[in-house]
């Protein structure tokens, strides 16, 4: 065997797959709907924001050789503050700068410029004071509205929990048609505008959309507790006792009818020496 494929296979032989959170514990019990969202959120490749991908498959280098194009992402950092705002795919970059050839490199963090702005959601009918970047506002303009932007972008591009929570609330409002309960005319108008966004989802998938792992586990535990019905043991034992008493009565009735058979009392069962004496005799 030779070639790259065989190489991969041989490597696999010596590898023992690491246990992950989906194989045991609460993680294994999480529904398939949540796992689907998780994949969209964490495993899909987001669109490049802080760098520009090269297009095409091959390129010619300056020395004349033709080489493949391999786009390697710049690693991004997602601080916890990201979850409180809508940054439009931007994140913090930890890297280094080197001003000149013979100068020492030094560490540098590139942080996006944040600002406060109001965003308006037509589905939820709410004005929200949020932390955004200029890119977010540009994306909102590009999609002709905040709702269109949130509903049409993938979870890996939205990234923040705030945006994902808003998306879930919007999807639930559209799926159940609970938007604008007082104004049926406006409701129909807005529903017609956005209803095509719910096509890819089932009701369960929408319910599990936009939760972090910890939140999802909490949800699961709460749902479990709700579904569990605890019956006190005394009720169970009482039922058993009643059953036993009923059976005994029946037996008594049966025993009274045939006279010839020997009446057996419970004391005879407790005769310890009976069985032993028999055994010893035979031996």
């Amino acid at each position: 065997m030779s070639g790259p494929k065989s190489n991969e296979l041989t490597k696999l032989l010596y590898k023992f797959p690491k246990p992950n959170r989906w194989q045991q514990g609460i993680g294994a019990e999480l529904p398939e709907a949540y796992k689907k969202f998780w994949k969209e959120w964490k495993l899909d490749r987001p669109k490049p924001v802080h760098w520009i991908d090269k297009e095409g498959k091959y390129e010619r280098w300056t020395d004349g050789t033709i080489r493949p194009i391999q786009n390697v992402d710049i690693p991004l950092k997602y601080p916890k503050e990201l979850d409180k705002g809508i940054w439009g795919g931007e994140a913090v970059i930890q890297g280094m700068m080197k001003p000149k050839h013979k100068k020492r490199r030094y560490v540098h963090y590139w942080v996006p410029q944040l600002k406060r702005s109001v965003v308006y959601s037509e589905i939820l009918n709410k004005y929200m004071n949020t932390i955004v970047t200029d890119r977010t506002l540009n994306l909102i303009h590009q999609h002709y509205g905040f709702d269109h932007y949130i509903l049409s972008t993938k979870a890996c591009d939205l990234r923040s929990l705030l945006a994902l929570n808003l998306k879930r609330n919007m999807l639930i409002a559209l799926y159940d048609k609970t938007l604008y309960p007082d104004d049926p005319v406006k409701q129909e108008e807005v529903y017609e505008k956005y209803k095509h966004y719910t096509e890819g989802y089932t009701r369960e998938e929408i319910e599990w959309y936009g939760y972090s792992y910890e939140e999802a586990c909490k949800m699961l535990m709460i749902n479990k507790k709700k579904s569990m019905v605890t019956v006190p043991l005394k009720v169970k034992f009482r039922e058993e006792l009643i059953q036993m008493l009923k059976e005994e009565k029946l037996e008594l009735v049966k025993d009274e009818e045939p006279v010839d058979s020997e009446p057996k009392s419970w004391l005879s069962k407790l005769n310890i020496f009976k069985s032993n004496s028999n055994k010893s005799a035979t031996e």
Binding site: G3, P4, K5, N7, E8, V49, H50, W51, I52, R67, P68, Q70, V72, I74, P75, E90, I93, Q94, G95, M96, M97, K98, R105, H108, W110, V111, P112, Q113, V118, Y120, Y127, T133, D134, R135, L137, N138, H141, Y144, G145
Partner: protein, 267 residues
């Protein structure tokens, strides 16, 4: 702040470069737009079957790509109602992004000019308009607040004519035609020092549609220095009495410049 200092220095090329103003840019990350980076040393290629290489320290050295800033294109919006100084209902207007967002889209005065909205909200304008022009309401607002001083001679006899008003408007950089001016019905003639500092009003018509009432104040003037009346400082702040008593109500109802509200009335 640093940026403003830098720009101030850049605007004065004759200033020699000293130690103070020759400082390098201390905050190179200070940009509003998205940061776009590039590796200084291009990353080594990995083999076809295997995954990506483990990164070296060299692979974390970046440089900025987006050095030259581009101006953002204006945002086009459609108005859903008449907005003074901007346009009619159904007008398509191009505007700066931030202004369009905060002042028009968020309050619901306008919608995005998306292809769906163009079908729904866009109206091709006919002759029916609330105003003769976009800026007419603004001129009405300005003219109704102003106090026009009409300078008249002490030596020669006069009755107020249209050209008096026109000439005095010209001092204020307002150019009026004779057709636009309508004087009060009763003639005012002088020289009469009882009229000094007293008020009357005229009506102006803008584009033959809108009308404004403008407050005018009479002031006697002369070329002879000894005959000159003492100059009252900030005369426009002092509310004067009307020449014709029946006009007093109208003159009081006209809006005054904002600073006058705090003034105490002198007798």
């Amino acid at each position: 702040m640093w940026a403003s200092w830098k720009s101030a220095f850049a605007a004065t090329p004759f200033v020699a470069k000293t130690l103070l103003n020759a400082t390098p840019n201390l905050f190179p990350q200070q940009t509003r737009t998205t940061i776009i980076l590039e590796r200084v040393y291009p990353i080594r290629l990995h083999k076809k079957g295997s995954g990506e290489r483990r990164m070296e320290k060299k692979d974390f050295i970046y440089k900025r790509v987006d050095k030259d800033k581009k101006k953002q294109a204006p945002l086009s919006i459609i108005l859903t109602q008449y907005v003074e100084g901007v346009g009619e209902k159904g007008d398509k207007v191009n505007m700066k992004r931030q202004k369009a967002y905060t002042h028009f889209l968020l309050p619901g005065l306008a919608v995005y000019a998306s292809p769906e909205n163009m079908k729904k909200y866009y109206i091709e304008q006919d002759d029916q308009k609330t105003n003769s022009s976009l800026y007419a309401p603004n001129t009405v607002k300005v003219l109704s607040r102003c106090c026009l001083i009409v300078n008249l001679s002490v030596d020669n006899p006069w009755t107020i004519e249209k050209w008096h008003v026109r000439a005095n408007f010209r001092k204020m950089n307002v150019f009026v035609t004779d057709d636009a001016i309508t004087l009060p019905e009763k003639p005012i003639s002088g020289p009469n020092l009882d009229y000094e500092g007293k008020e009357f009003y005229i009506t102006l018509t803008i584009n033959k549609t809108e009308t404004v009432k403008v407050r005018c104040k009479i002031h006697h003037d002369t070329f002879i220095y000894s005959k000159e009346l003492p100059l009252v400082p900030e005369y426009w702040k002092i509310p004067g009495k009307a020449i014709f008593e029946e006009d007093q109500e109208i003159l009081d109802s006209l809006p005054r410049p904002k600073w006058e509200d705090t003034m105490t009335v002198k007798d």
